[in-house]
Every structure is written in C-alpha cells, then in structure tokens.
C-alpha cells in the first residue's frame, strides 16, 4: 500500500480525477430547462418521433412533481443553473484512435483503455452528455451480445428499445426519473441472448467535464433466459465549486434463470448531486445483484431496487457508502416481493467521517400472495468522529402471513482500544483507522473483481488521509 500524502486529501482528488479539459463542445443547450431545450436535444440527436414525444411528456411530469423533501437537503440545487446537454464531439469511436485527442487523454489518465485491454469484455466511455467510445470484444459480439450506447440502440435496435425502455422505471416514478426521461443522453444498452454467459465484465465509465453540467445517462440491460452478465460502472468529475447534477436511470430485465450483477463505484467530486433511479425486474429463478459503492458526490440519493416477479427470483443488494466532510449519502435498497418463494437480502455498510452523514433508507415490501418470501436486511454503520452522523429508515410492509423477514441494524464507533491495539504494533493512527475501515467494508470488497477491490481500497485510503489531527 502506497502511503498517500496526509495533508492534501482534496489536492489528491484534484490531481487524480479533478482535472478538466479546455474543450469546446460542438453543441450545447442553453442554461436551464425548458420545452425548447428538450426539443433541441431530440433534434440534435435526430430521434424518431416516439422518443421525442416520450421526452416531452416526461418533461410535463417533471414540472408537475414537487421537489422531494423526505430525503437529503436539495435546496441548493438550482435547476436553472444546469446545462442539460453538452455534446463534446461529433465523433464516436470503436477504437480509441478515433476519439478526439484531448478526450482520449482524459480516459488514458483515468486508466480506462488499459483496464479494457487487461480484463474487460467491453467498454463504454461517456464524456458529459455523449458516449465517445464504445467497444465490445468480437468474441461476445459473435455470440449475439449487444453492447452499445443507448442513443445508438434507439437507432439500430428500435424494436428492443421500444419494448423495454421506460417499462421498469416509468417517467412518473419520481421527479428525477421524469427529468432523466426528458433530457436523457448516452448510457449503455446491453442485450444478452438466451444462455449466453459473458464471463468477464462490461464496463462503462462516466466523466463529467464541463462546469454546471448535468449528466443524464440512461442504461437498459436485458438478460435473456439463462444468461449472465456483470456490468460495472465508475465515474469521476473535475472539482469545481459549483454544483453539477448527475441523474441517471437504469433499467434491468432479468429473465427466467438469468443472472445480472451490476456494480457501481461512484466517485463524483464533492459538488455533484447524484440522484439516481436504478431498478431491476427479476423473473422465475433469476438473480439480480446490485453492488453499490458510493464514495463521492455532495448528495447521493440512490436505492437500487429489485422487483421479484416470479417464484424463485432472488434479489441481492449490497450497498456501501462513505460520507466524508459535507457529504450526505442517502442510500440503501428496495426489494418488492411480488411472487411466492422469492428471496432477497439487503446489506448496507456505511462509514461517516468528519461532518459526513450516511443514511440508510430501505423498503421491503411483501405483496399479497407472495407467501414464503424470505428477506434479510442488515445495516452496519461505522462512525469515525464525534460529529459524524448516521440514521436508518427501514420501511417494511408485509401483506402476507407466511414470510420470513429479518432486520438487524448496528451502529459502531471505531473504538480507541482497537486503534490502540493496532498502534501498539507500530501502525500510525491513520493507518490503523484505514485498516479498520477497510476491514469494515471487506464484505463488499470481496464481491468485487480484484482490480475494483484494489481501486475501492485506494479510494478509501484517500478518504482516510488526514483523518487524524
């Protein structure tokens, strides 16, 4: 483990991820949101009418819904200050050489092409509003796997898109789902044919470059019967002192006997509002797994969900949140048991440091008829400082008698005795803390491919620097 510089935590994010490119976008909409802006995005994309209508309807829904007040404080988020669509370039590459030089340099610096060569089946890279690079290894393409950006999918696979788009997360689901539906751009479209197992991960990387930018990618994954795919996403942004907004929608359809794992390592800079709706539907004997790591952003609201629609379906949600100074991570998960003999588990681990606040918010709902549903919820919160906060909002609604539901919540403080024990073996105090924290999130790290586990540990180390006075 390299010993990072103790005093310059924010400096370090700035250096590693927080740089920005002076690029001149080829097109961007005017600041703020209006019907005209929504139309401009659609026109610029040359979309079919059905998608334009979908956007405009969603925009009306967005206007009609009040700002949610039940969660974190969003009062500083000003919709008029955001630029909703920024197209950095006209070019989209299937090889990195086709990507404009300065943008390619950014992704080089973030290590994406290298990762792709080493251990990924495919990569998508989005820069502000548009995907600038997308590639799937031949071997998977030959098996009929589709991995393209969602705009391309609208053009090339309209039937598939029409069949599923907006069915799992409809625009009226919540204000931010409506917003995304109105101004969405980019994101990944994944289709895995029946029985195909994509053994190595597909990855998407999301980068915000512009100031006050909004990024609204839209991801749709369809896993046909008996298939498997692991999709991984990461993200970063420059450090500006002005808010940026990331509001994605992810929809996943896991058909009978299929398994989808969706892993996120969210590391937005601390001026990004990250308000995301992620939901999957799982059919008979299917397995949906969300592995959701939230480290960055100013405010995150994200509760990955699984709707268990047929017997034998299983949903697993593993959520890890790190809330440092000034951050509020409001995360958790939702499991809806809509069929008998369905099972699920939510595991949440949060760490609050400095003035950070981590909230667990979860919903377990057993619908009538979903007898023999089994669910376990476990929330662990670790507090590193006196001022650090944590809270839990576990909602449980059960409308069936024969079910097994377990819920456990624990809050612990890093004990002085533990730190002393490690220090008495020669570890510096912040090394001791980092080790305790890395042990605490070990259950998540263990679920990640090696490279991501290393990355996650490194991020935690960065967050832990300078944590002792």
């Amino acid at each position: 483990m390299a010993q990072p510089d103790i005093l310059n935590l924010d400096q370090d994010y700035k250096q590693k991820y927080g740089f920005y490119d002076e690029i001149k976008p080829v097109f961007q909409t005017e600041r703020g949101l209006s019907r005209r802006v929504v139309e401009a995005i659609s026109i610029e994309k040359g979309e079919p009418k059905w998608m334009r209508d979908f956007r405009l309807q969603a925009y009306e829904i967005f206007l009609s819904k009040p700002m949610p007040t039940w969660g974190p404080d969003l009062s500083q988020l000003n919709f008029d200050e955001i630029v909703y669509y920024i197209k950095p370039t006209d070019r989209k590459g299937r090889s990195w050489d086709e990507v404009p030089e300065e943008i390619k340099r950014t992704f080089d610096r973030l290590g994406i092409p290298e990762w792709e060569r080493k251990f990924l089946a495919g990569v998508g890279a989005q820069y502000d509003s548009e995907v600038v690079y997308h590639n799937l290894a031949k071997q998977w393409e030959e098996k009929g796997v589709i991995f393209v950006d969602t705009d391309t999918a609208v053009r090339e696979y309209p039937d598939l898109v029409k069949e599923y788009f907006g069915t799992v997360v409809p625009p009226h689901d919540n204000k931010f789902a409506a917003l995304n539906s109105a101004v969405w751009s980019g994101g990944s479209f994944v289709y895995v044919p029946p029985g195909v197992h994509v053994e190595i991960p597909l990855q998407a990387y999301f980068r915000i470059n512009a100031k006050n930018a909004g990024q609204f990618e839209r991801t749709l994954i369809i896993a046909e019967e008996g298939s498997f795919v692991h999709y991984v996403e990461g993200c970063t942004a420059p450090v500006y002192a002005e808010e940026a907004l990331h509001s994605a929608v992810v929809e996943i359809i896991v058909k009978r006997g299929a398994r989808v794992r969706y892993t996120t390592i969210q590391n937005w800079s601390k001026d990004v509002y990250n308000l995301v709706t992620k939901r999957a539907v799982a059919y008979g004997d299917a397995i949906m797994e969300w592995v959701d790591g939230n480290i960055g952003s100013r405010v995150t609201q994200k509760y990955p969900s699984v709707y268990l629609l047929e017997p034998g379906a299983r949903g697993e949600i593993l959520s890890v949140a790190f809330a440092g100074d000034g951050q509020h991570q409001d995360t958790g998960g939702k499991l809806i048991f809509a069929a008998p003999y369905t099972t699920g588990r939510i595991t949440s681990k949060s760490i609050s440091k400095g003035t950070g606040r981590a909230s667990y918010r979860g919903l377990v709902q057993v619908l009538e008829g979903a007898h023999h549903a089994k669910c376990n919820v476990e929330c662990d919160a670790l507090l590193l400082d006196e001022d650090a906060k944590t809270d839990t909002y576990p909602y449980i609604e059960i409308n069936e008698k024969e079910v097994t539901i377990g819920h456990e919540a624990r809050v612990s403080k890093v004990s002085d005795e533990q730190i002393f024990y490690l220090q008495s073996r020669g570890l510096k105090k912040d090394e001791a803390l980092t080790l305790i924290v890395s042990g605490f999130i070990e259950p998540l790290a263990k679920q990640l491919p090696m490279e991501y586990a290393v990355e996650l540990n490194r991020l935690i180390e960065l967050e832990m620097e300078g944590s002792v006075g």
Partner: protein, 259 residues
C-alpha cells in the same frame, strides 16, 4: 550484571489515574529493567498491573500526573504508541482486540514494515509469517483469518506471542498471557518466550499466578499491591506468594509504616 549500563526501562515515582477521577491507580511506582533480564510482576486483581502495561505502551485513556519513564534513556511518555512500538517496545495484551475483516497477514505485514522500516512484498512476508505461526504451533490458515475474530481465548494469547516473535521487540511486556491457557499451550508460549531470551532483550512478565514462572524463570520477582511495588526479590518470592497468598504481603504491608 553491569550496574553502570543504561537501563532499558526506568520507571521513577509514577503516578497514574483516569482523567476524570481523583483516585490513583498507580501510586508512585519504581521499576528498573536492564537488557537481558526477565522480571515477573505479580499482584492481586485490580492492583494496577494492566494499567502499568498500558501506560508503558502509551494508551491514551490514562493520565500520568507525576513521575517519569525512560526507555533506553529517552522519555517514553512523550512518544506516540506507534513510535514506542517502532522503538522496540511490545505489549502482549491481556485482552487482545478483534479487528473484523482485517486479515492477520495484511495487518502484520504493515506492522512488520513499520517496525523494521522496510517494504516487503506480500509473498515474501507470507513466508516469514508462516514460520512464526508454526513456532507457536498455530495453523498456517490463521494468516488469512481476521485478527482475533472468532479465536478462542488460548488462540488469542498465542497469537500475541506470534506477534512478539515476528516483531522482535527489545522489551516485551506480557500481560497475563498465561491466564486461560491449558498446560500444553502454556508450554508452547513459554518456549516462544524462552527462545527469544537474549542479552539484548528484556521481558516483563505480568501474572497473577506462579505457574508460568515454572517455565519462564525470572531473574526478579516484584509484587504489586494497590498501585505500587511492595516487595522485590528472586524467583523464591513467587513460590512464597504461591504458598501464602497475597494476603501475606498485604498483612506485612499493614505492619509497615507508610513512608
């Protein structure tokens, strides 16, 4: 013994209490340990033995109001706990802490790197660790287990000695490492300690019972009562204590006038 040599440890008139209490736990304690020596510190429960051990290691929960502690001539009380460890002080805890999710190998590799101020590759370290585990007759699989989590009492104690063996301290304080050990484990632990005895190294063996001293022969035995050493002598003192119990020292103490 060379009298003029600088002692490894010199505790002079140490007074210790908890920050928000008035009652003192350690009340004017003196103790001098030279390299090469093994000292046994005995005393009834609550006499302040663990407190002394923790204060020596730099536990932040205690307040030293008076006295001084020199370690190899340097002011120990000014050093952070980790600095003390890197300088060669080791404490085998009476109650070792669990650190969930952190493997022994990861933890001790870091400790090893700090103690010896070096970088070592994981695979190289692993080999070293296995030797020390083996020495204390602990299975190699412990390397991958979380620190002390799910260990039996005896395993925890043995693992403390594994760490001591690995980190090669100059002064090792063993706080009731013998309690909770069956006779076989006790022998293994004693072997571990004896194999490390050297002219450069010293041990302070804290114990409630005489039993461990059958296997680790001390040069000096001290009896601590109510925060101070009330009697010092050779190994025979431990036997006397065993025979007559701590009340014997207490009653003798009651007879002596306080200075």
């Amino acid at each position: 013994m060379v009298a003029e040599k600088t002692p490894l440890l010199e505790v002079r008139n140490l007074w210790v209490k908890l920050p928000d209490e008035e009652e003192y736990i350690i009340r004017g304690l003196d103790l001098t340990i030279h390299a090469g020596e093994v000292h046994a510190l005995m005393g009834p429960n609550g006499s302040g033995k663990s407190t002394l051990a923790k204060v020596l290691s730099g536990h932040p929960g205690y307040e030293v109001t008076d006295g001084e502690v020199l370690f190899r001539g340097e002011n120990l009380l000014e050093m952070e706990p980790d600095e003390r460890a890197r300088a060669g002080l080791f404490l085998a805890f009476q109650y070792p802490m669990e650190v969930p999710g952190v493997t022994i190998a990861n933890f001790l590799r870091l400790a090893y790197q700090r103690r010896f101020n070096t970088e070592i590759k994981y695979t190289d370290f692993y080999k070293i660790l296995l030797q020390h585990l083996k020495k204390l007759e602990m299975d190699a699989s412990f390397a991958g287990r979380p620190v002390n989590e799910g260990f039996s009492g005896g395993e925890k104690k043995r693992f403390e000695i594994v760490q001591m063996s690995l980190l090669e301290p100059v002064l090792a304080v063993l706080d009731e490492t013998d309690s909770g050990l069956d006779i076989d484990a006790l022998k293994i632990v004693a072997n571990g300690v004896n194999s490390m005895r050297s002219p450069e190294r010293a041990f302070l063996v804290i114990t409630h019972y005489q039993r461990i001293l059958n296997y680790i022969t001390p040069d000096y035995v001290h009896v601590m009562v109510e925060g101070r050493i009330v009697r010092s002598g050779g190994p025979e003192l431990a036997l006397q204590l065993e025979e007559k119990g701590y009340d014997w020292v207490r009653s003798e103490l009651a007879g002596t006038a306080t200075p």
